[in-house]
């Protein structure tokens, strides 16, 4: 059974190596479709199959959506586990850093729309991603954006289940996580998406903290220091700092200066996604109905988006 699955694909060239996996490109023999094979390294994890691999396989099996990477197959070869994934040659981080490419307003909107749709689908399946960043938003050869890397994902918890706050890459980490919250919601992913939105507009990370302490300061500097009134329970979160610098919340005027190209509706959505208090933050479903997505300019059509390779 397993060998038959393996025989359906070729492994042609190594294209990348991470801490826990090696990635190859290959083909689905029957269809000639290009695919990526993510081979989990052995010996990294003495307790059998790596937890990240288990999470990724578990969740990707359940998610079928145009804006989430497709898990095509899984097989084992000797002691190694391999995931056959759709081939996605580009990522948003690469595009952001490529200064030769000009982003139009519609481009940013198209990417935000696709990312929000993909995330909305994850959330309605009760799945938290917990590691959204430009590097994990991949671009297909036809320009479609797909959420990838579910190695930190988890099922929405039962109300009493504690979760670990040490998730999400620092620059995209929501304030409740920075303060060590053990109970949190899909709003952590929405925050990350909001920060990605800012980065798409600025072409620079919006809150690039140097360490966890600095991250809190940069977050307050960018969004203002929240108060206990605005966010009841804030100061009793486990890792809330004893002293914090007080920064004012940026005015609309200030935001317009920081994001000079953005429309008012765009800024409104950005603000809603980056509400400091997670209870006030917009959900994906609400975000999808934001005026920003229906106002002019329209989201750029796939065929005209930067980053396509076909």
């Amino acid at each position: 059974m397993n060998d038959a699955v393996m025989a359906k694909y070729t492994k042609d060239k190594k294209v990348g190596e991470g801490t826990f996996a090696v990635v190859y490109v290959g083909k689905q023999v029957k269809t000639d479709r290009k695919i990526a094979i993510k081979q989990i390294k052995e010996g990294e994890f003495k307790d059998g199959v790596d937890m990240s691999a288990i999470r990724e396989i578990k969740f990707l099996q359940e998610i079928r959506h145009a804006n989430v990477i497709e898990l095509i197959d899984v097989f084992t070869a000797g002691p190694r586990l391999s995931m056959v994934l759709e081939f996605l040659p580009t990522d948003l981080e690469g595009l952001i850093k490529d200064t030769k490419i000009l982003f139009r307003l519609g481009d940013v909107k198209a990417w935000m729309l696709m990312a929000t749709r993909g995330l909305h689908h994850c959330h309605r399946l009760q799945i938290l991603h917990r590691d959204l960043k430009p590097n994990n938003l991949l671009i297909s050869p036809t320009g479609e954006l797909k959420i990838a890397d579910f190695g930190l994902a988890r099922q929405m918890p039962n109300p009493k289940d504690k979760m670990t706050p040490t998730v999400v890459t620092r620059w995209y980490r929501a304030p409740e996580l920075l303060f060590g919250a053990r109970y949190y919601t899909p709003a952590v992913d929405v925050w990350s998406l909001g920060l990605i939105f800012a980065e798409l507009m600025l072409r620079l990370p919006y809150c690039p903290g140097e360490d966890d302490i600095d991250q809190i300061d940069k977050t307050f500097r960018a969004f203002g220091t929240p108060t206990e009134e605005e966010w009841p329970g804030l100061t009793s979160l486990p890792a809330y700092p004893k002293t914090v610098n007080k920064y004012p919340h940026p005015s609309v005027q200030e935001l317009k200066m920081r994001f000079s190209a953005a429309t008012e509706n765009g800024l409104e959505l950005f603000q809603a996604m980056t509400e400091l208090n997670p209870a006030d933050r917009v959900s994906c479903e609400e975000a999808l109905t934001a005026d920003y997505f229906t106002e002019f300019p329209r989201p750029t059509k796939l065929a005209e988006l930067p980053g396509r390779t076909e």
């Binding site: 059974m1 397993n2 003495k46 307790d47 059998g48 199959v49 937890m51 288990i54 396989i57 578990k58 969740f59 099996q61 359940e62 079928r64 899984v74 084992t76 586990l81 729309l113 309605r124 399946l125 988890r154 099922q155 039962n158 997505f293 229906t294 329209r298 989201p299």
Partner: protein
């Protein structure tokens, strides 16, 4: 997105049913009774063939193996499921993790015959280990083995096989989750029902949900259908009232209650096999294991050769019990219980010890 496409899309709302139909539980692990029976027959046939080939390869007469029937295989699997409570207890697992482990185990033996994996305890341990990972309730392999008495090597060796047999779908939906949802919703939908009644309905229904793992319900019904059936078994009056409030359309109500009733019938006729019957199947199962059969033949031969000379005494003192009894670590119900409760005594004496004992007798 133009407004035209927006409105045409708006007519296609994604429902909970649509989402369920996308799940691996529905796509890969839901069957009609006919499909399920056919699948079991196929697995049994594969097992039969495996035994035959392994005996032929060892130059033994396949007729020596007492082949298990489909029903006997199923009895064995369900018996092992009923033993899983012990493992869940020593690991102090939430019911969700336990449910996942048991569902993994049932799926495993829908795909594989117990005649091929004739040591179901090892499979059960592996299913539990994998379930703790899949449900984010992680134990290191050493901790896991210390508590359960499992052997690390066996578990790690079987882990890939179990994942493959799950068709790599590691998400298992049990009826506990929807049951909790109904429990909460009933309190708003039927405000006149006293909290204590709703509470005992919930507690009683949870017992029926755990009973459902000893049936085919998970392969034939959706998790909410099973939880409604569990509620129906506990308090049919309130459950029906609740369904009437939630379903104004009589056709929908009738269809739902009809389906739920089918599940109720299943939950109400769970008969636990007698220990003697399970032991009998265990004995047959050991006869299907070519290695164990070889060991038994060798021992008998030695015994016959040594008849009347000093060798006999020596052998008798080494193996005081008949060989097929001492080989029983895996499939013998009694030792399954022992292994499940191993950590209670923390002596690690039960399953692994008797497993290694049987290994050493095979080598002798």
């Amino acid at each position: 997105m133009t407004s035209a496409t927006a409105s045409s899309k708006a007519t296609k709302t994604v429902t909970d049913d649509d989402i369920y139909r996308q799940s691996s539980q529905f796509k890969k692990w839901s069957f009609t009774p006919t499909q399920l029976a056919a699948r079991r027959l196929q697995t049994n046939t594969n097992g039969r063939e495996f035994v035959k080939q392994s005996f032929l390869a060892a130059d033994l007469d396949p007729a020596m193996a007492k082949i298990l029937s489909v029903d006997e295989e199923l009895t064995m699997v369900n018996y092992m499921c009923s033993q899983s409570e012990g493992i869940a207890q020593v690991l102090n697992l939430p019911s969700k993790v336990k449910a996942t482990a048991v569902l993994f185990f049932k799926k495993f033996f829908l795909i594989n015959s117990v005649m091929v994996y004739s040591d179901p305890v090892k499979v059960l341990h592996t299913c539990f280990f994998l379930a703790t990972k899949a449900e984010n309730h992680f134990f290191s392999i050493n901790q896991f083995c210390k508590y359960t008495g499992a052997v690390a090597k066996d578990v790690l060796q079987l882990e890939f096989v179990v994942m493959q047999s799950m068709l790599f779908s590691l998400s298992a939906q049990s009826a506990y989750t929807p049951l909790h949802g109904f429990y909460l919703d009933i309190q708003t939908s039927l405000p006149h029902v006293p909290a204590s009644t709703v509470g005992s309905l919930y507690d009683g229904a949870r017992k029926y949900v755990s009973l459902s793992f000893l049936t085919d319900a998970n392969f034939l019904f959706t998790p909410p259908q099973i939880s409604l059936a569990a509620m129906m078994c506990t308090n049919s009056q309130i459950t029906e009232q609740y369904l009437r409030v939630k379903m104004s359309d009589p056709a929908q109500f009738n269809l739902t209650t009809k389906l739920v009733q089918e599940c109720v019938d299943m939950l109400q006729k769970v008969d636990k096999p007698t220990k003697e019957y399970v032991q009998e199947i265990g004995k047959k199962l050991r006869s299907c294991d070519v290695e164990k059969t070889k060991a038994r033949l060798l021992k008998r031969k030695l015994k016959e050769q040594g008849e009347g000379d000093a060798k006999k005494q020596k052998l008798d003192s080494e193996t005081p019990q008949p060989p097929d009894m001492s080989n029983s670590a895996s499939t013998e119900p009694a030792s399954a219980e022992a292994s499940a409760s191993a950590s209670a005594s923390t002596t690690d004496a039960s399953a692994p010890a008797s497993a290694s004992a049987s290994a050493s007798t095979e080598q002798s």
